[in-house]
Symmetry: C2
Subunit: 119 residues, 2 copies
DNA sequence: CCAATTGTTCAATAACTTTTGAACTAAGGA
DNA sequence: TCCTTAGTTCAAAAGTTATTGAACAATTGG
């Protein structure tokens, strides 16, 4: 079972910007960037909204090509599509993440440590 | 008579991204960037929509702090707030403009030459 | 098998955004 | 003064996005 993702060349700039222009989704991306290399499941983001609401926002991010979601058991392991985004829009993700990193107004994924994920 | 603009420190990242996440507004910004130094009035953008519609989009850009509008006679001279944006979100505008510059899917401000503007 | 965990889907609603035309203001030129 | 040009404002309509809870599916562990 795999989830639908756009190819790198199908990623659209206005779409990516629109999707990042939501504080909840920007907070998700900032957190993913801060944990790059670590695959996170949806529950890590429950600080930012209800389960249903996160499912919605994570689907938006995935459909826009910002994140990749891999199905591992009952988990969806979520990662930033950094290479694809960097290839398509050089420097964009870095500057967004740097700017978001300083933004006190953005919602925060709580200081709770990451849970070890089971395969 | 002056129009309301946010201060540099009031410019919000999610807001800027959301505002740039509209193809019409992104096309406006791309065109402004391509004519940097030249002050443009609203009529230059009529390729992108009706007068009323442009008034709406240009107000969004201005209220988000992306553009500055100066009243000169009956014209509003529009410029990118490059220095403010670069200070607040280093590299962001450049990467957006570079990415937009290659984007064939974005609407285009026609090849018509700029009209000399009257004070 | 049963229960718990993880996450999705659906339908409803609320809230916002975009687009439109008609009416308007304000400045400039004849 | 009157006309034109530049742009705004308003209200309506249309479309889109975000949020919610209830019901569902799939996997895993006991």
């Amino acid at each position: 079972m795999t989830l639908p993702h756009p190819n790198a060349d199908q990623i659209s700039l206005p779409n990516v910007l629109a999707v990042l222009g939501d504080p909840t989704r920007l907070a998700i991306v900032r957190y993913l960037a801060s944990k790059e290399g670590v695959a996170l499941n949806c529950s890590q983001f429950l600080d930012l909204g209800s389960k249903t609401n996160l499912s919605y926002h994570l689907a938006k991010l995935r459909e826009a090509g910002v994140t990749r979601a891999e199905v591992v058991g009952t988990n969806r392991m979520i990662t930033l599509r950094r290479a694809d985004l960097d290839a398509r829009f050089p420097g964009l993700l870095d500057s967004v993440i740097a700017a978001a990193g300083e933004d006190k107004a953005l919602p925060m994924v709580g200081g709770a440590d990451e849970i070890e994920i089971q395969a």
